[in-house]
Assembly symmetry: C2
DNA sequence: CAGGCAAACTTGTTCAAACAAGTGCCAATC
DNA sequence: GATTGGCACTTGTTTGAACAAGTTTGCCTG
């Protein structure tokens, strides 16, 4: 069973290292759904950590819904939707790889233009401000899967003119360039495929698409990106679990009556 | 500022009581977005709890995305999507009330019938098993907002024949009857309005609807309900936030190529 | 053989101490 | 006036102890 010694990473707290290792064991299938984890006492011995530290790591996994259980019994692996790391969730490319599919992208347009009303509102700039916009078709295993319309505030966006947007992940590239992409807000609804969508995805106009609007901010809250991603719903969905013990952070939000 | 003394509730741990009180302060608007919470030292004094207990409560709020911040500074209220409690998320009626809207419902049908392939699969029963099904139109402030198709395994479902399904929340009623509704799984995608949807919601067939498929289980994992809820997307969406520090429990899931 | 009870084991909660690391403010110096 | 350093304050991590509460196992008795 769990016999790997936790190695203290100087840059990372012990509880985070342990949580990551436990996640890896679950992700690798070593502990399958329904399997019981080692007891806290065992984890303490094997990780050379105090019980408080072990519990701290387990609490993180509980909050993610990865494990569950109750007093008197070691935790079990939940029949779990695996939670996805920040970057896996934010980057289509990374996500596709993580689910064993080949990501692809075709850039339709990269432009600098005035924001317009909606983009201005989301990026918290003036309507007449210049922003950088990208329109891309994203593919999974060669199949068109999603249309991505991203708008960037100009400082971050100008970096994209030095990047081959057909090569992969803008999110990863910007992070490599030192841009602080740290927070995301995701609004999920449904829209009808417009003319561009229908042409690129190869579906009829009006076809229901699963839309994710994503707002990406720095760790201090400055908005850097607003993106409108439209998925073919037969190719992807969003899934979450909640329990009476742990709230799901997902909220159902009412909109104004049209 | 925070001057209310935390009262120890014998049935609830101190850290949960404190977390609930902090949530209430935020929800009431007493602490607005961006406002700083009292320091941990102050919270310890005022709640008569140890620093560990205070941090435990704050950790829960962090995991929900309700507060954020870093070392050396007290937490601030995030520009937060408020997380919703288990029951608020699972019950349309309770959710509507929580967002200040008047819920309504009109039962189209309550029936006992054989499950059929998809319901059987989701409820983990045989296709020829009898299940109880409800079709309802749900309204917000008198406006049609959602079509709900729920299927219950027979033990729980038979209780519904003694319940006025036009009066409110099935979820709440079943819980009051002692049914252990403790876990939920939610799959969000988009579908085209079918003939029933279009008639009840007053939209054209093929209109994109935001679909939430919900599977409700007991705390030990027995599936009790499968529901297919279809929202008018202009009336509701699902929103979540994630950060590089705290994963969102929501996952993007690929489906098989059609 | 079945049921009940006690003991051992397990997780959940609370408290406290110590140290690390980050923030902010004030005073001194250039 | 600007910059730097020091100090007080703040949060983050780790450890450990004690107790509560739940689970499991083994043994004994009917």
């Amino acid at each position: 069973m769990y016999d790997q010694v936790v190695t203290q990473n100087k840059n990372q707290p012990k509880h985070q290292v342990l949580a990551a290792e436990l996640r890896a064991h679950i992700a690798s299938g070593r502990w399958a759904e329904g399997d019981q984890l080692p007891s806290e006492a065992e984890l303490c011995l094997q990780s050379n950590a105090s019980r408080g530290t072990v519990r701290h790591a387990l609490a993180a996994l509980r909050a993610e819904g990865l494990i569950s259980g109750g007093q008197g019994k070691p935790p079990v692996v939940a029949h779990a939707v695996k939670s996805q790391s920040f970057s896996t969730f934010m980057s289509f490319t990374e996500w596709a790889h993580s689910v064993g599919q080949e990501p692809g992208q075709r850039t339709i347009e990269l432009a600098k233009r005035t924001a317009g009303e909606q983009v201005a509102q989301q990026l918290q700039v003036e309507e007449s401000s210049m922003v950088v916009q990208v329109l891309r078709l994203r593919l999974l295993d060669g199949t068109p899967a999603m249309i991505e319309r991203s708008s960037f505030e100009p400082e971050a966006g100008r970096l994209l003119f030095d990047f081959d947007t057909d090569s992969g992940s803008i999110f990863s590239y910007l992070r490599e360039q030192g841009i602080d992409l740290a927070r995301g807000r995701h609004i999920i609804d449904a829209v009808a495929a417009d003319a561009t969508d229908s042409e690129l995805l190869g579906v009829a106009q009006g076809t229901p698409l699963l839309r994710e609007q994503r707002i990406t901010s720095t760790s201090t809250g400055e908005v850097l990106e607003y993106s409108d991603d439209r998925y073919l719903p037969q190719l992807a969905n969003f899934t979450i679990e909640n329990t009476s013990e742990h709230r799901a952070a997902l909220s159902r939000i009412p909109s104004a009556v049209a």
